[in-house]
Symmetry: none
Subunit: 179 residues, 4 copies
DNA sequence: GATGAATGAGCCTTCATTCAT
DNA sequence: TATGAATGAAGGCTCATTCAT
């Protein structure tokens, strides 16, 4: 399973060959079919694993979100940082779920919904501009997270903390300096 | 060429068969090889086309950028809107260049560089926070554009104008309402 | 392997189709690729087999050459006869190695070298004309053997013994009757 | 035609492509079919050319054979030398006729017959051993000529004269030094 | 539970050859 | 006479998948 994840993540669906997976696993091809119905089946299974892990992660972070700081920025940054940590620790399966699967779209939509909900709660305190569409903001955040994960986190250019703090500052205060 | 672009954009590299391309083009397979050296060759050619178009587009928008408004927001929004328009009008080839090709990473890096340069110019007027890393901001903008293009523009949910104005507001002023 | 040898020997490289080989072997094409990397690979393998057999044959005949007759003619005739026997018993692979392969030239050169060495030993007894280039004689003998093998041995016109005795007489005494 | 001969001689029948021939001839493929019925047709035509040239050559040398020396060796050597010259001057077409064509066997048989006839005439003078089968000798000579042509003449290692003199000495006097 | 051996299905590619102009 | 454009026919090779043991 891990081997398959690694291969799919590295080479994509088509360029990952059952023969290569079983070779690295030191078993034979029929053995593969003893445990998985088909190439597609194991792929879907991996996607399922990602979705489960993601779901658990979200649950976890909801439960442990009691540790709320007074500081809004810190609070949001921590949330985003958790997401980056999750992608960092589950890179291979995340690559599959986020970039290779057909469900990727759906998964990202749910991420956005999740973030939107969080923002909505924050918004109730009245700190946010009211003329901004939080659904779109959430989607934008997903876009940035996704992009940074691929281009900066997985390439080792930045840590989750660096990325999350940068995102948070940007999205909260924007570029413009008011005076 | 267009047919191939459509097929690659729809099904990806491996699930696009030469037989399907030529079938839709009402020619036979050997005819394909009369014009393209191989499946990979036409794919690379399409990527090349995208890169060229993108390059031209960037050039054009640089030249015609004389129409500078006083309004910073409007100015930036227009620039981003142009990018969305470009992706809208070149959807298929953009799908290939942005999401299917191996060069996608490089292409996006260049987009980011481009945006960073523009921001740097704007920054000279002293309107921006000085503690913000423009390189990361540019990369974030690329992430959002890419995400929106895929999830909202190509799905017909939003127009280039809507998306660009939303992005601009968000990135310039952020979520926080100062008072 | 034998089937392939037969086909290559009969039809040449290009006119031998994998499909024909596997058909005669009562297996399917993928099975072929289970045992051989490519069409060219099995061809090279057959050439290798020929070279090995030839090498072994040469070794063998060197070892068993203790049975030296006093009669020079008989001795040489036996040697040549052995070569014809070898080609007779390994016709298919010999056809490939001698006439179809790119290495044919090299193989024949080595045959010639071999024969030259033998002649050189014989020459030490002083029976041969001294003004004759043994290297060229050896090459000539190879030419005749090759020609006879193709035109007379494999066509069933003559036996190894007939051919070898004829060659030997000719090369030893020539046409001219001295008196 | 010359171009085709060159290509066939260089690459063999299958590896010679019509496209390559017409390319080198600076015409298009349909033009080829304007002059030749098929790939096979031009190949046969080239074989025909070789056969004709060979035939003419034989005729010529028969007619001009009045220049008979008293010296038997010289006489025969000259004949063989002429053959080598012919092959040297018609290398490409000879490669086809001697090594690539299906008729090669027949052609060589005729060469042998020709040589046998010549030998028979010489034999009438009673200079030759009587217990030698002239048909086989002729065939042997063809084998040597063929081999030398390929391995020594066309590789530039030896001149026609060198080769013919060597062959003649060998076949007339043999290796054995009588005393 | 595991495998050696085999295969169905299909894809890319090539090449001699022709048609309409 | 010459060609631009196209194709029929086929061949090598790959890969997910299965059967018999």
């Amino acid at each position: 399973m891990n081997i398959a994840a690694k291969q799919f993540a590295s080479y994509g669906y088509h360029d990952t060959k059952i023969s290569a997976i079983v070779h690295e696993a030191n078993v034979t091809q029929p053995t593969f079919y003893l445990y998985f119905k088909s190439k597609d089946a194991i792929f879907q299974e991996l996607i399922g694993i990602f979705k489960d892990k993601l779901h658990n992660h979200v649950e976890q972070s909801r439960l442990s979100s009691g540790i709320e700081t007074d500081d809004l920025l810190q609070r949001i940054a921590t949330n985003i940082s958790l997401i980056f940590h999750f992608f960092q620790e589950n890179e291979q399966v995340a690559r599959i779920g986020l970039f290779l699967s057909e469900e990727a779209i759906e998964i990202k939509k749910q991420m956005a919904k999740q973030i939107e909900d969080n923002l909505t709660v924050e918004a109730e305190d009245g700190y946010f501009h009211t003329n901004i569409n939080l659904s779109i903001v959430a989607s934008a955040i997903v876009g940035v997270i996704e992009h940074f994960t691929f281009m900066k986190l997985w390439t080792g250019l930045n840590t989750p903390e660096e990325l999350s703090i940068e995102i948070t500052k940007l999205f909260l205060y924007g570029l413009i300096k008011e005076n």
